[in-house]
């Protein structure tokens, strides 16, 4: 098994005629993902080079392809709210936003809309989701390397950083382990699905034996996961690599990394994240290479 994405995932790409959107669609098709339709307002009726029909709206696309169960959003930042609102209102159960630099105010609105509708929103700034050997959505894993980096296995991976999804997965694969599903949740101040949301899904997934998270300074998503682990609602082992520890020792008043939170009640620093996760029973890796070493101690 795996979570969120598998052989039955049927994708609609919003922004399919753009440079990033068309590349993502082609790479997804190459991996075997079912990409059924695309949306670009004003370009309805066209067909992409890869033979995917383009529609003017999500509604029009769904009229022809009611089996779509996932929307990938790859449109410029100023159009993300409108695109997400369309797919949320169309009740598409999984929506993954690749676009970076989406205004936080608009992300807050999307999160509220998605909650009301009961759909899963991942991102913004999500590199994508891959269930090794089954299907992938987004830009995760280029076709040149995807089969050596992402191999089927029992480790769930969740990362704020898109780049680290591939690095960590490669290290896990080289150690003879593989991944059930790898998810880039994005490192923005507000994100749709956070560490805890995804860990809860892995907790129910029989094929996931342990979970690796890559976190970084800022926000409170790592601390919220730690609180749930401490409360005993998570039983699977979590291995955590948290970036930003040394940067806190620099003689600078500046916050590095992605946007920090303001309402944090003393949380948010890399030190706070490491301490709370450790206290909750997570295994802390100091480098990516330590991840498989720690995984081997519990598998």
């Amino acid at each position: 098994m795996s979570i969120l994405v598998d052989e039955n995932t049927k994708v609609l790409v919003q922004g399919i005629t753009g440079k990033e959107g068309s590349r993502a669609a082609r790479e997804m098709l190459a991996y075997g993902t079912k990409v059924l339709a695309g949306v670009t307002p004003g370009k309805g009726g066209q067909t992409t080079e890869d033979g995917i029909p383009v529609f003017n709206s999500v509604k029009e696309a769904l009229a022809q392809f009611p089996e779509v169960n996932c929307a990938l959003i790859v449109v410029p930042p100023q159009f993300v709210l409108a695109a997400a609102t369309e797919s949320i209102e169309a009740n598409i159960p999984l929506i993954d936003i690749l676009t970076e630099k989406v205004p936080v105010a608009q992300v807050a609105t999307m999160i509220a809309l998605a909650r009301k509708q009961g759909v899963v929103l991942v991102g913004p700034s999500s590199v994508g989701i891959i269930s090794s050997g089954k299907a992938k959505i987004g830009s995760i894993g280029s076709s040149e390397l995807v089969h050596t980096i992402f191999t089927p296995g029992n480790i769930g991976v969740i990362s704020k950083s898109g780049g680290m999804t591939a690095e960590i997965s490669r290290i896990i694969s080289e150690a003879g382990l593989g991944q059930s599903t790898v998810i880039g949740i994005g490192g923005d101040l507000l994100i749709g699905a956070d560490f805890l949301d995804i860990v809860r899904l892995f907790e129910k997934d029989e094929d996931t034996k342990a979970i690796v998270i890559f976190g970084e300074v800022g926000g409170t998503y790592e601390e919220q996961l730690a609180a749930a682990m401490e409360a005993g609602t998570i039983t699977k082992t979590v291995v955590a690599l948290i970036a930003g520890q040394f940067s806190e020792k620099l003689p600078q008043d500046t916050v590095l990394g992605h946007a920090g939170a303001i309402v944090s009640k003393g949380r948010g620093s890399a030190a706070s994240k490491v301490a709370s996760l450790q206290k909750a029973g997570a295994l802390i890796a100091n480098t990516p290479e330590e991840i498989p070493v720690l995984l081997h101690t519990i598998l």
């Binding site: 790479e27 930042p77 970076e100 630099k101 989406v102 205004p103 936080v104 105010a105 807050a108 609105t109 009301k116 590199v127 994508g128 830009s139 995760i140 894993g141 280029s142 040149e144 390397l145 980096i149 950083s161 898109g162 780049g163 680290m164 591939a166 690095e167 960590i168 490669r170 490192g187 101040l189 507000l190 994100i191 956070d194 970084e216 300074v217 926000g219 409170t220 998503y221 919220q224 970036a243 930003g244 520890q245 040394f246 940067s247 020792k249 003689p251 600078q252 008043d253 500046t254 590095l256 990394g257 946007a259 939170a261 303001i262 309402v263 944090s264 009640k265 003393g266 480098t287 990516p288």
Partner: protein
């Protein structure tokens, strides 16, 4: 982007929040057409302004020049003020704290209010906003009527200006029941006001870093310092940057004098064209004078990595650069250790 107090107060006025009567001065000899006593406030971004002597009360007009001169020459956390905000002193009966920002626990905007102004958000009670239909509303909670008006204005500012933080601390309550904003701390969303900006920071060390990806960049800073290296800068470039962008960034990073090494590093990339990225690096490197002779450790992996490394080998041979090339078989951490060792030998 964080605003200076006076810029924040200009926004307050735009949205109908009262601020003290004031004059903004750029030199100590400026005329102060205000009623004394006044408060002089150094316009710097530091949060330690009060602690570090950036605020002074002046009782008499004749003392103003000297105190202003003092403030104009006082550096606060490395920043010298260009402007001093001079405000008439406010007589108040109570100081409140009020702010709007984003709560990552609830993942929504939140109002924070405290009856102890000055204590900051840590002492405040947090009220998540309510999402009705398609907009955010203040929570149904009773505050004094005139304060409610301030909060409504603050919400309008928060939304229309795309603020991440709109804070009034202290918010003075006067004997007549009116409210005046004593300070303004506003942070605007860089995704809206500076979308093309890349985070860049000069650090006190001697090893230049070009690290790819936000999270990986932070991690690599940790790793380099863990191995005893001193980073000269922090920069983020993620996505799939064209060669020209990497070239520009390379020039910026390597133009620092006194460098002893350079680390070009990234995890295995998902979709970044490694050839394009490293071509940009070489183009930038060629424009640095004097020509760098220090060790340059490159650890990259991803699409077109082999082509990229073949190109680098040729460039190193023909043009005489001290490149040390590593792919995924060498850990990022190991490449940091190698670089620190090479730097210590020079």
């Amino acid at each position: 982007m964080k605003l200076l107090e006076y810029q924040g107060k200009e926004l307050f006025q735009k949205y109908g929040i009262t601020v003290p009567t004031s004059a903004l001065v750029e030199n100590p000899a400026a005329e102060i057409p205000l009623r004394f006593p006044v408060v002089l406030k150094s316009q710097v971004l530091s949060g330690n302004r009060k602690k570090k002597g950036g605020i002074k009360i002046v009782e008499r007009k004749e003392d103003c020049f000297k105190k202003l001169e003092e403030l104009f020459t006082r550096e606060i956390d490395g920043e010298l003020p260009q402007k001093i905000l001079v405000e008439e002193k406010v007589s108040f009966i109570k100081e409140w704290y009020a702010s709007l920002s984003y709560d990552t626990d609830q993942r929504m905007p939140a109002l924070a209010v405290s009856e102890k102004g000055g204590a900051g958000i840590e002492a405040a009670e947090i009220f998540p906003l309510e999402f009705t239909r398609d907009s955010w509303q203040l929570p149904a909670k009773s505050f004094p009527l005139l304060m409610q008006r301030v909060l409504n204005s603050l919400l309008e500012l928060f939304q229309k200006e795309y603020a991440l933080l709109a804070e009034i601390n202290p918010l003075f309550e006067l004997a007549d029941g009116s409210f005046i904003a004593g300070d303004a701390k506003i942070i605007l969303d860089d995704n809206v006001v500076n979308p093309a900006d890349r985070p860049y920071l000069d650090l006190p060390g001697d090893i230049a870093i070009l690290a790819s990806g936000g999270g990986a960049s932070l991690l690599n800073l940790d790793i380099l310092m863990h191995h005893g290296g001193n980073p000269a800068n922090y920069v983020e470039y993620s996505g799939n940057p064209p060669a020209a962008v990497v070239e520009e960034l390379t020039i910026k990073v390597l133009s620092r004098p006194g460098l002893k090494g350079c680390w070009v590093v990234g995890g295995t990339a998902n979709f970044t064209d490694i050839y394009e990225t490293l071509l940009g690096f070489v183009q930038g490197l060629r424009k640095i004078s004097p020509k760098p002779t220090y060790p340059i450790v490159i650890r990259r992996d991803g699409p077109r990595q082999k082509e990229a490394f073949a190109m680098l080998k040729e460039v190193a041979e023909k043009e005489g650069y001290d490149f040390h090339l590593y792919g995924p078989e060498t850990a990022m951490s190991e490449s940091a250790r190698i670089l620190v060792e090479l730097v210590s030998k020079t």
